[in-house]
Every structure is written in structure tokens, then in C-alpha cells.
């Protein structure tokens, strides 16, 4: 067995049993990155020497009998998490030379638990995108391809496209990711892996480059549901440095994966049956519900009446918050500065931001600036906040009747790199099934459940109650077990 084929759980067991060392495991991943990253572009920065030093230190700790829950496990870190002393670009020109002097809380928690960092994963610029084509470091390629059309390069989804592609291609055992409208779940589904956006407040946002602060949440992507559970337990936890961090206990999520679904009531929202959804996705959804019934769950039709308004609501709230958060990139304190010989301060700001931000980021800042501007605030931003409250109320009412909700993860399988690039709104529709959980602050998990006719992975989504990731993991693991998803991407280490 090639060391990059371990699941994260399997690697921890192998390390504990002395079957492999962290140095060998890390080196195998670095070799795989050297072989495949020039094609996939999943990593922006590879920190090979640092990773091997961390692996050596980990092996030494293990020898002394001190082993954290992730001792010696090599991971990829989305390049939105600040890593002390390591370039952190957010996929943007404007942060192209930014080396943070501090560590994000989530990555610090992973280091505390013994993890090894292989490098920084590519992403859409400032996490804005659904195809990882807006990165200043270039697009990421999905390691999967269509069976009858292997030459068309597909997107890995976004914004956590580098994280998902790296994990699917076996260039990391797991990765950190973030999700503002679907940026963990959509790329996980496109790449045939699992990923969870936890409840808002579960993971600290300290040290994560901010996009839309009331929606952003960090979470893991990995090749199994249990691997996500193991990673989330380390990533999560109260942090006084984030005022929205929740002071609640972090349960043993991995234990919850084995709970089963007997007696659970699973909601099936009728508003998620969208016109134009491919029949394969409808069929997979039905199949997933049938699997859960076979394992003792009951499926119940529910109504989330404001679903159709979720995406346009999101495209007011998220750009508004982004325009405010991204005001800090002014060419003065860090990052890129662009001036002309006669530039005054205002010209410095305007040139720096025009050249530092890519087209999609500029577009969202302009939309956000408009909806917050004098005279339009009530019509757009306040209106959106009210509809957001209605969307949350829909979920509150549904969760009075059911324990979890199961939906498709995405409205399509991975698409080609040059598709959907001409119309921003068409790209936004990728998040139609995922964005509601962000607006309501709820946990959502994507789990690979099958393949389409072209051999591309399709995922299902499990949404749970606030701070009830355990039920989400139980349902996700039940789907995973029934699906027996063993298909592999064409581009992967050891293939």
C-alpha cells in the first residue's frame, strides 16, 4: 500500500503501531506533490523543509510517549489561514507578498495536536468563487475527468478548490477549508471527498482572512466522514480572540459517526426539487433517502418556503460585509502598493485596489458598496437581513419536526474550466443547495454518494441543528457506508 493511500484514521493507527514514521509519511506526500502539483496547482506554497522538520519533531515526541490526536499527520492548509512566517496570499495579488507574524487559531490548534503542514492550498481570490478560477496563482485542476472526454480539464469547485483537489489526489490526508456560501461542501462534492461546514461559532475565525464575517466558518475536508470528524475536533473550540466564537464543549465527533440513524427523522425539503436539476442528482437523492430508511430512519417531507430567496439574499449580505472587510487593503500597512510619481494618498488607494484585486473581488466590493450606500441601505441590506431571519425561521420550524435534513450537495457535477465564466449569476447558482446553511448558521456536511454517467462524483448534503454536528456526522457516515464510494480520480499519487 502506498503511504498516500491511508485514510487519516488509518495513518494515525499506522503511526501508533509503528508501521510508518511521520517522516516517511510526510516525504511520500511531498514526493506526490512534486509529481502532481505542477499539473493540478493545488498548492500555492509548499513548505517541504518545514514539514520534514515538524515530522522529525513529531516522531521524536512519539518516541518519548507524547502523542497528540493528530501526531505526525500531514495536512494542507487553505491559503486563507494565516501561518506565522509562511506566505499567506488569500489567492490575491494584493496579499502576494504577505507573511503573517501570527498564527490563526485553527491552524495553531492543529499544530498543538501534532499535525504536520505540507503547504498552503490554492483557493478562489479571498474565497470568492465556485470554480477556483479566480486565484491570482492560477486555476486548480480537478483530479477527476469525464470518462468519455478525459481531455477536458474540470474545475475542482471553490473556493476551497486547492484543499479538495489536494485531498482527492492524495497530496494530503486532509485539509483545512472555509465555507461562506458553500466553499467547503461544493468542492468536496466536485472532488469526491467529504467536507463539513460546522455551526457558525464552532471554529474560531481569528487569523482567517475575512470575507463575510457573519457567514465565514472554517471546517475540514478529508476522504472519509470520520476523518473530517477527527480533524474538526482539533480545529474547533472556544477562542477569546474571536468575539463570535462559541463557548461550548467540543464533543467526540468521531464517536458520533458510529451512532447509526435508527429512529432519526430525516427532513426532505420540497423546495430543493429544482427545475433543471439533472435526473441523476434527483435519483441519487432518492437513493440516499432509501439507504437511510433501510438503516432505520424515517424520511419526512418538510417545507423551507424562503429557499428560493437565499442566493439573492446572500449576494447582498456577503458583498456588503466583504466591501467593509476588504477596506483594510489600502496599500499602506501591508500587501501591494501601486503608485504613480504624482500619486496622492487617494490615488494610491485607488490604483492599489484596482490592480491588487481581481475582477470578481472588485465586482463584489462594488455591489457591497452600493447596497450599503446612503439611500439604498434599507432597500437592500436591511431587506436582506430580514429575509435572512425568515430563512432561519424556516429551519427552526423544520427542526421542530426532524433531526437532520438531507439534500443534494450541488446542482451539477464538476464542470469544465472554461464553462460558466461569462455570467457571474450563473456561477453563483452553484451554491443553491449550500448557501441556506450559511445564512442560518447551521452545520452542513457533503458526503460522496455516487457517480454520474460520465464517472464524475456527486455528493449529498446533511444539514443539522445548531451545534448538533454529531447527528450530522451520524447521518453522513450512514450514507457513506451505504454508498460504498470507492471510485478514484484519474490523477492521483501512486496511480
Amino acid at each position: 500500500m502506498h503511504p498516500t493511500d491511508f485514510t487519516l484514521r488509518g495513518a494515525i493507527d499506522a503511526l501508533n503501531e509503528g508501521i510508518i514514521t511521520s517522516v516517511d509519511l510526510t516525504q511520500a506526500h511531498l514526493d506526490a506533490i512534486a509529481a502532481l502539483n505542477p499539473r493540478l496547482n493545488a498548492y500555492i506554497t509548499v513548505t517541504g523543509e518545514q514539514a520534514l522538520a515538524q515530522a522529525r519533531a513529531s516522531d521524536a515526541r512519539r518516541k518519548e510517549g507524547v502523542a497528540g490526536p493528530l501526531e505526525g499527520v500531514p495536512l494542507a492548509i487553505k491559503d486563507l489561514f494565516c501561518t506565522a512566517g509562511t506566505l499567506t496570499t488569500a489567492g490575491s495579488r494584493i496579499l502576494g507578498n504577505f507573511t503573517p507574524p501570527y498564527e490563526s487559531t485553527v491552524s495553531a490548534n492543529l499544530l498543538r495536536d501534532g499535525a504536520v503542514f505540507l503547504g498552503k492550498a490554492n483557493l478562489d481570490e479571498f474565497a470568492m468563487g465556485s470554480s477556483n478560477t479566480t486565484s491570482a496563482s492560477g486555476p486548480v485542476e480537478n483530479p477527476w475527468s469525464r470518462a468519455n472526454d478525459p481531455d477536458t480539464r474540470l474545475v475542482p469547485g471553490g473556493s476551497s478548490g486547492g484543499s479538495a483537489a489536494a485531498v482527492a489526489a492524495r497530496l494530503a490526508l486532509g485539509a483545512t477549508a472555509t465555507d461562506t456560501g458553500g466553499s467547503i461542501r461544493q468542492p468536496a462534492a466536485f472532488c469526491g471527498i467529504a467536507g463539513i461546514k460546522p455551526t457558525y461559532g464552532r471554529c474560531s475565525r481569528f487569523g482567517i482572512v475575512a470575507f463575510a464575517s457573519s457567514l465565514d466558518q472554517a471546517g475540514p475536508v478529508a476522504r472519509t466522514v470520520e476523518d473530517c470528524a477527527i480533524l474538526l475536533r482539533s480545529m474547533a473550540g472556544f477562542d477569546p480572540k474571536d468575539s463570535t466564537s462559541a463557548d461550548v464543549p467540543v464533543p467526540d465527533f468521531a464517536a458520533a459517526c458510529a451512532r447509526g440513524v435508527k429512529g432519526l427523522r430525516i427532513g426532505v425539503p420540497k423546495e430543493y426539487r429544482l427545475e433543471g436539476t439533472p435526473p441523476e442528482i434527483e435519483a441519487l437523492w432518492e437513493q440516499g433517502l432509501a439507504w437511510l430508511r433501510e438503516q432505520g430512519a424515517e424520511t419526512v417531507e418538510i417545507s423551507l418556503p424562503h429557499t428560493q430567496f437565499a442566493l439573492p439574499t446572500y449576494y447582498i449580505v456577503a458583498p456588503a460585509e466583504a466591501s467593509s472587510n476588504l477596506a483594510r487593503y489600502d496599500g499602506v500597512r501591508f500587501g501591494l502598493r501601486v503608485t504613480e510619481p504624482n500619486s496622492d494618498l487617494r490615488d494610491l488607494y485607488e490604483r492599489t485596489r484596482a490592480q491588487g484585486f481581481g475582477a470578481e473581488v472588485r465586482r463584489r466590493i462594488l455591489i457591497g458598496t452600493y447596497v450599503l450606500s446612503a439611500g439604498y441601505y434599507d432597500a437592500y441590506y436591511l431587506k436582506a437581513q430580514k429575509i435572512r431571519a425568515l430563512i432561519k425561521r424556516d429551519f427552526d420550524e423544520a427542526f421542530g419536526k426532524v433531526d437532520a435534513i438531507v439534500t443534494p450537495a450541488t446542482p451539477s457535477a464538476a464542470f469544465g474550466m472554461d464553462e460558466k465564466q461569462d455570467d457571474p449569476v450563473k456561477m453563483y447558482l452553484n451554491d443553491v443547495f449550500t448557501v441556506t446553511a450559511n445564512l442560518a448558521g447551521l452545520p452542513g456536511l457533503a458526503v460522496p454518494a455516487g457517480l454520474d454517467a460520465q464517472g464524475l462524483p456527486l455528493g449529498l448534503q446533511v444539514i443539522g441543528r445548531s451545534f448538533d454536528e454529531e447527528t450530522v456526522f451520524a447521518v453522513g457516515a450512514a450514507i457513506e457506508q451505504a454508498a460504498g464510494f470507492t471510485a478514484l480520480p484519474r490523477l492521483r499519487a501512486g496511480a
Binding site: 457573519s214 447582498i316 501591508f334 501591494l336 496622492d344 432561519k392
Partner: protein, 95 residues
């Protein structure tokens, strides 16, 4: 609501993003495309609904009004595009 060119120019100025004359028409078309799609929200009845401001179920907590760090000027200035001693350098603002 459809944005005209002067409004696009004003929004770009508020956002401190330089738009060249040749870029205005495309920006106008893209913004109007997005705003036209968002317009459907006006049909939703939100009478008496409290706006939801944050993402969390938990209320923000107060913290002690205390100095928790300091003396890290070098770290703060480490990424400055134009560092001048203990200061960030900018073009002259006062004549």
C-alpha cells in the same frame, strides 16, 4: 433600479477602486445584471420581521477593557510597503 454611468463612477470612488473610462460600461452591465437578479427580494413580505445581523445563535459577550498586547511595532511594520522608522510611509497629505 438600474445604475447609470455616473452612479457606477460614484460607487467606484466610494470603494476606492480606480475604474478607467473604458471599463465603466462593462462594470455597469455586470452590476446591473446582479442587481436585476437581486430585485426579486422586493416581493418578499418582511413586515414586522426583525433583521438578523449576525451568524451566531449566541449573543456577543463583553470582555475586560484591558491592554492585552503591545511593544510589537516591528511585527506590525514587518509587511509595510514603505516603512519609515517606526511609521508607515504615505504620500504627502498636508501641504
Amino acid at each position: 433600479m438600474s445604475l447609470d454611468i455616473p452612479t457606477v463612477r460614484r460607487i467606484a470612488a466610494l470603494a476606492r477602486i480606480r475604474l478607467e473610462e473604458g471599463e465603466l460600461a462593462q462594470a455597469q452591465a455586470e452590476l446591473n445584471g446582479i442587481l436585476g437578479w437581486i430585485e426579486q427580494l422586493q416581493a418578499v413580505n418582511t413586515e414586522g420581521v426583525e433583521p438578523m445581523a449576525g451568524g451566531g445563535a449566541v449573543a456577543l459577550r463583553p470582555r475586560p477593557d484591558a491592554v492585552t498586547d503591545g511593544g510589537i511595532a516591528d511585527q506590525i511594520l514587518a509587511n509595510a510597503p514603505d516603512r519609515q522608522g517606526e511609521y508607515f510611509g504615505v504620500p504627502k497629505v498636508v501641504e
